[in-house]
Subunit: 345 residues, 2 copies
DNA sequence: AATCGGTCTGAAAAGGATTGCAACACACAG
DNA sequence: CTGTGTGTTGCAATCCTTTTCAGACCGATT
């Protein structure tokens, strides 16, 4: 149905090989012939069959992207960055969403691996062992997770948390609550680590409120714990959770930031639009997606040879908006909430 | 590198054809042989090379999905529906985002068409002619757009708007403003049509505030116009815009719904979580994505033969939450805003 | 005139899976 | 004992492109 290289060849009065060369190695054919070939190809609307090409080159021209939840705005931004970079390099993109289910990751990884040249695995929830096993044969770049011996793109979450804690500390907050994300999230682990370290450095009390689903409802549920904890500021695992916090605090008529400061993470676009606008630790999402693809493509080009699993770490950046303010003069009473300085999960 | 059908064949002591048949037409081979083949395939971890298969069958096992903006939660839901259906039918999914740019649609359509068996084109912004031209050769199902002679999945937007207007009318609102979406959006046209019809039926005044980008900022910008229009209720093109309206109304200290009722469209998850929770016309997003794939697959199975471009229309459903209430007793003055009953774009 | 270098082109193989056709074995009927 | 049918398997062609290898051609040098 669609024109093949053969059709172009006869139309241009040359052989298939010449057509192939005219299109992919232009300097090897006589300019006049090439012009004829290009004209014929254009006239027939010829598009090379990527499956056939892939069969012989062993490369598909496709990349895969696996994310936990496409409806999370954090990941939409990542997807956009990945997409831009892939399209720029003339790769097509398979995107798959695991619905936050760890088991789906290895399954998708396996299913995808035959159809792509490489995979960006974003914020995987699976245990290290599973990931180590499955990715060996194909090129996989991890994002938001670091595993020994695997290339990855990460963000300096710990430093982001340091900036957050120092900001709050400078505002006079002495007791800071943290609403944690999934136990299986590597980023969450990094953030907890950064929090504990900088809490210690600044002499702040850190209250770990427990692990919550990284969604709006998680923040809603955590808000009451935060209020009961005696903290004057609360840091959320991400912005969506922070928005949930704000919502519940609003419902309980707690004024932000006068009575309680709230700080998110990610800097999703919605965060700048709330009232009051959310103070947050900005993560270069788009850039991270792009960097993952760049790294992946460089690995593919090298032929998976030398370098021992490169890592790329991007900076996080505190963005101060309106949900953080000076600590209330009178400390709140501090019932409930278990204060701890050791990591909990 | 990866095991081929040949490897399985020698391992099982049969020919390639037998392996192929054992895997895809099990009833044609001797049960004992089949068992041997399956065992060998399993042991070697054989996965058929889809490119090679596609070369001969002419089918890729891939579907394509094109949406205007992945970071719009409406489309994330659609994507999830499409993905679920595709995965259920053992198809892989290419997803592409046009960044709301119409020209990218035809380009992506063309690029994708060779690599997939069919495409779901969601909420296309391109003019009818362009779409009519490009899709002829491949199977394309439109979503949120109806074009003569092309299969489509749509939602009864007009009826959704009717429900909205009747709801507001029953609450005593006489003057209703509409914040329109992109001119190039077919859904927007349908909604305007429904609005004008039901405004006439209920004897309400409809104020068209103009076209705004379908984003939060669009709502923010429209809010002041709504206030100045003398309307006591405002319907937004979608929920994201409605959230922008709420934000700006809040900033201007207009109480919702006491002074102004606000009504959105789509029912994105965020809408149930605001304070007050947003009244909205719910669109079956997930279901629509699924329906589009089901329709597409049925077309592929039929071999694009008989039926003259089936259309599937899904119902919309008003969800009353807290941003709509009885009209304020004292009508507001009505300067600015151009009242009209004819469609504007 | 023969050789050489260089440029350009074509023939043919390869890549992995599917499938039409032929072959084979076997049982059974004629 | 031959012919027919059925059930099972193998051979070989095919899909479309890339790539290797060899050949053709031309001008120039020895």
């Amino acid at each position: 149905m669609a024109p093949t290289i053969r059709d172009v060849a006869t139309a241009a009065g040359v052989s298939q090989s010449t057509v192939s060369r005219a299109l992919s190695m232009p300097e090897l054919v006589n300019p006049a012939t090439r012009a004829r070939v290009l004209e014929a190809a254009g006239r027939l609307g010829y598009q090379p069959n990527r499956a056939a090409r892939g069969l012989i080159t062993g490369r598909t021209g496709n990349l895969g992207l696996i994310v936990p939840d496409l409806s999370n705005p954090f990941f939409s931004s990542v997807v956009k960055g990945v997409q831009a970079a892939a399209r720029g390099a003339d790769y097509s993109l398979f995107i798959a969403d695991t619905d936050e289910e760890a088991s789906a990751e290895v399954e998708l990884l396996r299913a995808l691996t035959r159809q792509v040249d490489g995979i960006v695995l974003c914020s995987p929830r699976s245990p290290d062992d599973d990931l180590a096993r499955v990715g060996v044969d194909s090129s996989v770049v991890l994002m938001n997770r670091r595993i020994e011996g695997r290339p990855s793109v990460t963000v300096d979450n710990a430093d982001g948390m340091r900036q957050a804690v120092e900001h709050l500390s400078a505002l006079g907050h002495k007791r800071i609550a943290y609403v944690a994300g999934p136990r299986t999230s590597w980023s969450n682990g990094q953030r907890e680590r950064g929090l504990h370290q900088s809490a210690e450095d600044t002499g702040s009390d850190l209250v770990h409120l427990g692990h919550f689903p990284p969604r709006f409802e998680g923040g809603v549920a955590a808000a009451d714990l935060a209020l009961a904890s005696g903290a004057t500021a609360v840091i959320a695992y991400n912005d969506v959770v922070a928005l949930g916090l704000l919502s519940r605090l609003g419902a309980r008529q707690v004024s932000v930031p006068a009575e309680m400061s709230v700080l998110g993470c990610d800097d999703i676009s919605m965060s700048a639009m709330t009232h009051p606008a959310l103070t947050t630790v900005s993560i270069p999402k788009w850039e991270a997606g792009r960097a993952a693809v760049v790294l992946l493509l460089s690995l593919l080009a090298e032929g998976a040879a030398d370098s021992p699993a490169p890592d790329r770490e991007l900076p996080a950046q505190l963005i101060v908006r309106a949900t953080t303010g000076v600590a209330p003069a009178t400390g709140r009473p501090a019932p409930g909430g278990h204060s701890t300085k050791g990591p909990t999960g």
